[in-house]
């Protein structure tokens, strides 16, 4: 039943032009595509996409405000990459992934420049310091805030990113069974990102009410962080869904919490119609459960770590 719905990709082109009739921009359709490329079913649910959009939006606004505070501390006029890097300093893995992304961006523009003759001239026009611009910014900044030397050690460190690896393996598994047409659609979905729709993204974020606004590189990083948030959500939701599936011989089945069973039961009731299709797509309940678990500080020290949380919001992306 979901499979007969029109492809989200084709609908995006027609609907994005009709957008803006009073309602603010919505990324629901793009998110459906993105979730498909990240491991969800071929036609992700609209409700899930709306929920994800809501979560990402909230988190980004909060992130922006914290970045603005940091920026004010610095005495700068715009939010720049340094502020966002500063916010991410606690989580080395995510920071490393962000740095890799920035370096890749530099590298890709360097290569594409060499191929396109026009680009070569354009680049010659702009300052020659464009090469590895992002890398330089990142390195300089981390150098300045690094007290213990562990941040700079990240540059030399060549560990494999487990989460990235897992995502790659999942994508590989997904594409193995596809035929050429499906694969082409999958690739198109994978290419979709917030940075591609930069202007729409900027409108969606709506920084007009803020005093300090982000600059170009900061917007790039924000688009990346938005994508990372979606990716994390899908990762976690898939884990939750896997947990929910009743497994024979699971030793912890008696220890599942009550709320968990409630979610499970609601899923069961709606599963009466077309269990096949439903079980493939990620449900909003999965997402909510994932958020709950992520935000909930589990462990012996959790009651005493409330000071660690700044605004009561734990960011998925940093």
């Amino acid at each position: 039943m979901n499979n007969t719905a029109p492809s989200p990709m084709s609908a995006i082109a027609t609907s994005s032009s009709g957008r803006g009739t009073g309602k603010s921009t919505s990324f629901a359709l793009e998110l459906q595509s993105m979730m498909f490329s990240l491991g969800d079913a071929r036609r992700p649910l609209h409700e899930t996409a709306v929920l994800v959009e809501d979560i990402v939006h909230t988190q980004l606004i909060n992130l922006l405000q914290q970045a603005a505070e940091v920026s004010q501390l610095r005495g700068a006029r715009v939010i720049s990459a340094e502020d966002l890097l500063f916010l991410m300093r606690k989580d080395k893995k995510k920071l490393k992934r962000l740095l890799k992304y920035m370096f890749f961006r530099d590298y890709k523009s360097k290569i594409v420049k060499g191929i396109e003759e026009d680009d070569l001239l354009e680049d010659k026009f702009s300052s020659s310091s464009n090469v590895n611009k992002r890398q330089k910014i990142a390195q300089d900044f981390l150098h300045s805030i690094d007290q213990t030397g562990e941040l700079l050690a990240m540059f030399e460190d060549d560990e494999i990113d487990d989460i990235k690896q897992e995502r790659m393996e999942r994508a590989e598994r997904q594409t193995r069974m596809m035929d050429a047409a499906q694969y082409a659609e999958f690739c198109e979905s994978r290419q979709l990102s917030f940075s591609k729709k930069a202007s729409k993204f900027r409108d969606w974020l709506d920084c007009s009410s803020m005093e300090i606004k982000p600059n170009v590189i900061a917007m790039e990083i924000l688009a990346y962080l938005a994508y990372e948030t979606v990716a994390q959500l899908v990762d976690l939701a898939l884990l939750v869904r896997q947990d929910m599936a009743p497994k024979a011989g699971d030793p912890f089945s008696h220890a599942i919490s009550a709320t968990f069973i409630q979610y499970h039961a609601s899923a069961e009731s709606t599963a009466a119609c077309g269990i096949e299709a439903q079980s493939n797509a990620i449900q909003p309940s999965h997402i909510r459960e994932a958020i709950r678990r992520y935000g909930h500080k589990i462990g012996p020290v959790s009651p005493f770590t409330s000071a660690y949380r700044r605004n009561g919001m734990t960011f998925l992306a940093c």
Binding site: S37, F104, K108, I115, K124, M168, A180, Y183
Partner: protein, 343 residues
């Protein structure tokens, strides 16, 4: 003596070949004869034509003291040049090193001036043959190969491999050359026809010519970058044309250190490729971020080439300084990509 003027002419010709050879010898690969060599071999033909008795002395050479070389090398040589080699480049070099001397004697004689010496007298022969045997040796590695290509087919031969059958096409060549004189960019921009100069934006004149369709960035120091040509010879030709334009405007432009900096090639595998699997299996070489760029960036170590591989099967190879690197890189990646064909 009578041989002196001929010797001088011969030496002049060798020096001209040297100039070409020293700059283009690095382009040479026995696997693929280039169009460039057609020009030089045709040069030789034009020089040869006025000297009629060109074909006969090949038999007269039996009188020349070639006892240091085994006889069969003469015939072997021709077979070797026709059966274009596999990546046993070094082997070919070795084998062709010796007979090329013989061949150069043959060809140069048939091409030229030395034939007259042979017909002159035997006494004149020996010093000249000595001259011949010593002269070709410095050029042995480079211009010694020139005569060989006149016997090879005039079409570029595809490198023989296990059925790749696809030859990457060169799309763009970036080269630099030093005109070795300070230039007044404003004067060039005002007087030259297809020149733009915007000192506030960028400190160089951008000049374009239509044939070959290329663009040059000319700096006031005299250095020039030439882009857009589709082959090494065309790039060199275009650079020469730009240099001539500058020369005609009154600057003492020269043509020093012409060097090819980058070559870009592209080809089509004609089947879709599973990039996710490739990125997973060849992690150390691949970077695949479809949100940023639809192609997979594959950094090959040997030869040091960057390949952009797309889902459609199109492959772009860049970062090469020589044509052979592009071909080699493609031959390396072909079996890998075949393994990741999307059924």
């Amino acid at each position: 003596m009578e041989e002196e003027p001929y010797l001088e002419i011969y030496l002049d010709r060798c020096m001209n070949q040297d100039e070409l050879a020293s700059t283009s010898s690095h382009l040479f690969s026995p696997i693929v004869p280039y169009d460039s060599y057609l020009h030089t071999s045709s040069n030789q033909e034009t020089i040869a034509s006025p000297l009629e008795p060109s074909k006969e002395p090949s038999t007269d050479l039996s009188s020349v003291d070639l006892s240091f070389l085994p006889d069969e090398l003469n015939q072997e040589n021709t077979e070797q040049t026709l059966t274009e080699g596999k990546p046993g480049v070094e082997g070919n070099h070795e084998i062709q090193g010796a007979p090329s001397r013989v061949q150069s004697l043959n060809e140069k004689d048939s091409g030229g001036i030395c034939t007259d010496d042979f017909s002159l007298s035997n006494s004149g022969l020996n010093p000249l043959s000595d001259g011949n045997s010593t002269l070709p040796s410095p050029e042995n590695s480079s211009s010694g190969f020139f005569p060989l290509t006149s016997m090879t087919p005039l079409m570029p031969v595809t490198p023989v491999s296990e059925g790749s059958g696809i030859v990457p096409q060169l799309q763009n060549i970036v080269s630099t050359v030093n005109l070795a004189c300070k230039l007044d960019l404003k004067k060039i921009a005002l007087q030259a026809k297809n020149a733009e100069y915007n000192p506030k934006r960028f400190a160089a004149v951008i000049m374009r010519i239509r044939e070959p369709r290329t663009t040059a960035l000319i700096f006031s120091s005299g250095k020039m970058v030439c882009t857009g040509a589709k082959s090494e010879e065309l790039s060199r030709l275009a650079a020469r044309k730009f240099a001539r334009v500058v020369q005609k405007l009154g600057f003492p432009a020269r043509f020093l250190d012409f060097k090819i900096q980058n070559m870009v090639g592209s080809c089509d595998m004609r089947f879709p490729i599973r990039l996710e699997s490739l990125a997973l299996t060849h992690q150390q070489f691949s970077s695949y971020e479809p949100e940023l760029f639809p192609g997979l960036i594959y950094r090959m170590v040997k030869p040091r080439i960057v390949l952009l591989i797309f889902v459609s099967g199109k492959v772009v190879l860049t970062g090469a300084k020589e044509r052979s690197e592009i071909y080699e890189a493609f031959e390396n990646i072909y079996p890998i990509l075949k393994g990741f064909k999307k059924a």
